[in-house]
């Protein structure tokens, strides 16, 4: 929604928004202005951040143009109330002068009610039988349509993100599979998509992709999950930390340093000491080691979040990731952390819709994807680390459609500008979705995964899978078989070090 009233805010904030506030993600519609004049930059930015965080653009479609300004005002009040409740610091900023509240001005200045084409395409969805907060989250638009201010809906929404002062513009809507992502799922440095990954395999499609979604981990994380993360922090991590340190050293060792001479400070260069005896000569007799430019590589870690990963596997993966990502960042390697599962289990709306449609012939996917962005390549790990708690949540994951997830992750990675792209999949087995397998057999999921792997490798991405048991090795040409969950960290670090070795040096 864009009232167009707050042009000052548009003018100052818009160009800076993606890089300064949204970790590379473009802005998805402005909050409606509530009063004329230019708001204080801090308050304006925070108001927009809150709008990006708590407002659902899909709900805009429910109101006629004449109703829109009133709804906008009420919605902004609701959004800022939630923001103030969750983030006291932000509340202070919002309560300051010129925060932009003037419903009348907003209404008067209203020009057009912009309807998101995507939101318009989202149908009214039937309620499912089981409805945990997480499972229900994806059906949020439906619930919010029923009552924008409904406390239940607000309560069901997850807690705030970890950095209240640095808003990020996540897209909460359902996003069709592998189309260019909106919101934070995309990246500021995104480039064109490789042809090999531009479209899914021809003989594979989703029966109805409208339920698919891409979400930031922070959207699904619950306060209770933080305890698991604390436990992760408090667990015995000595051996793993040593391994992470070794990884750092190995990555650093692979960044060749070079000497820089003729410096005004640094280490004394004996070969230039004679300059000191020459009157008038530049006394630059120092030298120093300068690191070579950071390796031009981007690593994507794609983690299976399905039910079978619960427990020891997920814990081991979380521990390893928690140490690997800082190590990669320290080495100057861009890295992205993604996860995948489905929104529902065996009984799901896509399957029901397929049944109601007379069970058309397949093969096709009969579940809704849930792709999760834990960390984009542009975000620092420390800012999004709390999202890792999702990996440890005991009741989160459902099925795993590995082929679709791999395609999505590879497509994201393919848009990165870095020359070397590494995609590392952490999984415990084979693709599984009960609804699809029951209708078309498990082989279709396996065939699809194999096709996607071929495409990803053809696109020049270095693809490696790590997994317990023989599952991943059945599908991936480069697979590391783990002896057990305790093996994850050591093998992950070793694999990363190998993959990021200088080209030709391996």
């Amino acid at each position: 929604m864009n009232t167009g009233a707050d042009t000052a805010m548009d003018g100052t904030l818009a160009p800076r928004w993606p890089t300064v506030y949204a970790a590379g993600a473009p802005l998805q519609g402005w909050a409606p202005a509530l009063q004329p004049g230019t708001p204080a930059p801090r308050a304006g930015a925070d108001a927009q951040a809150a709008w990006q965080r708590w407002h659902d653009p899909a709900a805009d479609t429910l109101f006629a143009p004449a109703e829109a300004p009133w709804y906008g005002a009420a919605e902004r009040a609701r959004v800022e109330h939630l923001a103030a409740r969750e983030l006291p610091g932000l509340a202070l900023n919002l309560s300051g002068p010129s925060a932009g509240r003037n419903p009348r001005a907003s209404c008067a200045g209203s020009t057009a009610w912009r309807v998101s084409p995507l939101a318009a395409s989202v149908p009214s969805r039937p309620a499912t039988k089981t409805c945990s907060p997480r499972a229900a989250h994806g059906r949020g638009p439906c619930r919010r349509r029923a009552g924008v201010r409904a406390p239940a809906a607000a309560g069901a929404r997850p807690r705030a993100r970890p950095q209240p002062q640095r808003p990020a513009a996540w897209n909460t809507c359902s996003v069709p599979r592998l189309r260019p992502q909106r919101g934070a799922a995309a990246d500021a440095e995104a480039g064109p998509l490789d042809e090999a990954l531009a479209a899914p395999p021809q003989d594979w499609r989703a029966f109805d992709p409208r339920w698919d979604e891409v979400l930031p981990a922070s959207r699904l994380r619950r306060p209770a999950d933080a305890l698991a993360l604390q436990a992760l922090q408090g667990a015995e991590r000595g051996p793993l930390q040593r391994l992470a340190l070794q990884l750092r050293h190995r990555l650093a060792a692979r960044r060749p340093s070079r000497w820089v001479f003729d410096l005004d400070e640094g280490r004394l260069d004996p070969r230039r000491l004679s300059r000191l005896c020459v009157p008038g000569a530049a006394p630059a007799v120092f030298r120093d080691l300068a690191p070579a430019p950071v390796p031009e590589a981007c690593v994507t870690l794609l983690v299976d979040l399905s039910g079978s990963m619960r427990g020891a596997h997920a814990l081991a993966a979380a521990r390893a990731i928690d140490l690997a990502l800082p190590a990669l960042e320290a080495a100057g390697v861009r890295c992205e952390l993604l996860g995948y599962t489905t929104r529902e289990g065996a009984d799901n709306p896509v399957q029901r819709a397929w049944q109601q449609a007379g069970r058309p012939a397949g093969p096709m996917r009969l579940n809704a994807l849930r792709h999760i962005v834990f960390k984009t390549a542009a975000q620092p790990w420390r800012a999004v680390r709390p999202g890792l708690a999702l990996l440890l949540a005991p009741d989160f994951g459902r099925e795993n459609l590995d082929g679709d997830a791999l395609h999505w992750a590879a497509a994201r990675l393919a848009r990165r500008p870095e020359r070397r792209r590494v995609l590392l999949v952490l999984s415990d087995g084979q693709p599984h979705d009960e609804a699809t397998a029951a209708a078309f057999g498990r082989a279709v999921l396996e065939d699809h995964l194999r096709q996607v792997i071929e495409r990803v490798e053809a696109a020049g991405t270095r693809l490696v899978a790590l997994g317990c048991g023989p599952g991943p090795a059945r599908f991936y040409r480069h697979a590391v078989t783990l002896k057990g969950p305790e093996d994850v960290a050591a093998r992950l670090f070793a694999t990363l070090a190998d993959l990021l070795a200088p080209e030709g040096g391996r």
Partner: protein, 642 residues
């Protein structure tokens, strides 16, 4: 030892990426070297674990003009084979076992199998004839599976290798799972997965012009009886065979270790191995599984719970033996279940024993042991009790000899009752229905639900009943009178090589001297009166081991009980077991195949005492743990996120 695999696709040629995946799946079984070979319609992969000095020369696949050979195993008749092939000793010393096997295949084609002694499985591709043949040794010590779809024929050491190829479904074979749950032997060439076939032990599979033909190349001779002049001659010949069987299994590129219980089999193997190694100035690590310190739990009649004292008595006699006692009773029976299933592609049959076996293997791997000796086939070979002689004598009408033997047995083994001895003599001659009726009258008749976790509905299914009948296996376990035939039936239908290949992941090779083919054939040919005489069971071995083993072993009136403290670990793992059973309930197929309600009810009423009782052992050690393992295997074969 190697893990091998390959694809012959006469239509499109093998896919290199698929072969690379196959190799990746098999890599853990052969961490020392991996090779991939691709030519024409055939692609072969091999991963190698070096356990013998000659493995350093291994460059598989071995290519000859006539044949390209993949060989997984160890030859125990290298010198003999080299001589038959006309290879000089000096040259043979620098040849890997695989190379010798390849020479044999090139010379004798598929008849080479008769010349190869040891634990092996091989694949021979003959490019000129566009023919592939696969074979396994008579006892099936190394596994080999295959799958055919159209013009593509694929094989691999384990089913998981085949699943790395597109178009090979990973679907459970319910019939085979039923066999497993009912403790039936393997039938035909089916495996636990639909569409995946076994090369059966002692069989050859030939693929030519798109046709697949399996043929048996080895049979044990049930009619051969060895006749020697004196009783001492049998002992001497037996000793010669046994010592050779042990000695040829000591060829190792690292440390050698052995299982050492308080029983005859492993003790004999350990003693002979230590003696042979001592002559070369080498040592032996001997492992004994013992219950936790202070354990004083009950033992079934005729058994003792601690095998430590007997084992220690032998170890004290052997100067070059490092004796290691392994306590594994506190470990949950589920602790390594998933790992074991993943390694073996099947469910372990005895979760209690895998606990201590895994603990031994872990310690051995940590010490750098390369070879671990066992005595698993001893009951069928060196320590055959000979008790089938009683019904045999009765059946032959030699009542005087029978009466003498019965009286002597009663005198030697005081625990034996007259009624037991009489029943053991008569039972094999009763018609089956009469035997089963009498058992039921005495309250001793066992039905499958007593010891098997198979779901009653599934068991009642006509197809399952028909399968049970068709197996030719007596599930009432009526005693038999022909000891030789009984042993041959067991040996020929037993096919359990997966623990051996799984040990390769730990860098170990399991070798069983008591399963040596020449030794087995000798033992089968020895007359029964050499095994049971004057009330002495295992008379042949007892005479041979009189000076080899200590009296704590030879004179023990009781037998050792493996994993005696199993019930403590089971009770401690009850919540974990409950959770596992609930997980199986959520898994659709496992819930349909297994009687989970019965297992959960058993778990809910764990007895406080009386763990040695037969019915308790059957309910918990056999039914509950085996059922849980089978369920975990179902989950592994057909994963679910529930």
């Amino acid at each position: 030892m190697s893990a091998i695999g390959g694809v012959v696709d006469t239509a499109r040629g093998p896919d290199r990426a698929a072969l690379e995946r196959l190799q990746a799946v098999l890599r853990p079984y052969g961490a020392d070297d991996q090779r991939l070979w691709l030519q024409g319609p055939c692609g072969l992969v091999r991963t190698l674990l070096r356990t013998t000095p000659e493995d350093g020369f291994d460059r598989q696949p071995v290519q000859r003009a006539e044949a390209v050979v993949l060989f997984d195993g160890r030859l125990d008749n290298r010198d003999e084979l080299a001589a038959a092939l006309g290879i000089a000793a000096g040259r043979a010393a620098a040849m890997a076992d695989s190379e010798l096997a390849a020479e044999a295949c090139a010379r004798w084609d598929s008849e080479a199998v008769h010349r190869l002694l040891g634990d092996w499985a091989l694949a021979c591709w003959q490019p000129q004839r566009q023919r592939l043949w696969l074979a396994r040794d008579p006892l099936g010590a190394r596994p080999l599976f295959w799958h055919q779809a159209g013009a593509r024929f694929a094989f691999a050491s384990l089913p998981k290798g085949l699943f790395a190829l597109p178009g090979v479904p990973r679907t459970l074979d319910e019939g085979r799972l039923a066999d497993l749950l009912c403790l039936l032997p393997m039938q035909g060439d089916a495996s636990l997965f639909e569409g995946v076939k076994r090369v059966q032990p002692g069989h050859r599979v030939v693929v030519e012009s798109g046709r697949v033909a399996a043929e048996r190349w080895h049979r044990f001779d049930a009619g051969r009886t060895l006749r020697l002049a004196r009783d001492e001659d049998y002992v001497e010949a037996f000793g010669e065979q046994l010592e050779r069987a042990v000695a040829c299994r000591l060829r190792a590129s690292g440390l050698v270790a052995s299982h050492l219980s308080s029983g005859f089999d492993s003790a004999t193997v350990t003693a002979l191995a230590a003696r042979a190694l001592a002559r070369e100035g080498r040592g032996l690590v001997a492992y004994t599984a013992v219950p936790r310190a202070g354990y004083d739990g009950p033992a079934p009649a005729g058994q003792h719970v601690d095998e430590g004292p007997g084992a220690r008595a032998l170890a004290r006699r052997l100067r070059n033996v490092e004796h290691v006692l392994v306590e594994s009773g506190s470990r949950s029976p589920l602790a390594q279940l998933q790992r074991d299933i993943e390694r073996m592609d099947r469910a372990p049959l005895n979760l209690c024993n895998t606990g201590w076996a895994n603990a031994i293997q872990a310690d051995a791997a940590a010490r750098g042991v390369k070879v671990l000796l066992t005595g698993l086939a001893g009951n069928m070979s060196i320590s055959w009790s000979g008790e089938t002689r009683l019904p045999a004598l009765l059946g032959e009408g030699r009542l005087g000899a029978w009466w003498t033997e019965v009286r002597a047995l009663r005198r030697r083994e005081r625990g034996r009752r007259w009624r037991q001895l009489l029943a053991a003599s008569v039972a094999p001659h009763l018609p089956g229905p009469l035997w089963r009726g009498l058992q039921r009258l005495r309250g001793r008749g066992l039905s499958l639900p007593d010891y098997s976790a198979i779901h009653p509905d599934w068991l009642a299914d006509p197809a399952t009943r028909e399968r049970l009948r068709g197996s030719g296996w007596d599930t009432s376990y009526q005693p038999r009178a022909d000891g030789r035939r009984l042993r041959i039936d067991v040996l020929e239908r037993m096919d359990n090589p997966e623990p051996a290949i799984a040990a390769n992941v730990d860098g170990l090779e399991l070798r069983d001297p008591t399963a040596d083919l020449r030794l087995l054939e000798f033992c089968l040919a020895v007359p029964e009166e050499q095994s049971l005489r004057d009330g002495h069971t295992r008379w042949l071995l007892k005479r041979y081991a009189r000076d080899l083993l200590p009296p704590e072993i030879t004179g023990s009136p009781t037998k050792g009980l493996q994993a005696a403290d199993w019930h403590e670990a089971l009770a401690a793992a009850a919540p974990e077991l409950q959770s596992a059973l609930e997980g199986l309930q959520r898994h659709g197929r496992a819930g349909r195949l297994l009687d989970l309600a019965s297992l959960q009810a058993s778990l809910a009423r764990l007895p406080a005492r009386g763990w040695q009782r037969d019915e308790v052992v059957r309910t918990y050690r056999m039914k509950l743990l085996r059922g849980t393992a089978a369920g975990a295997f179902v989950r592994y074969a057909e994963p679910s996120n529930r």
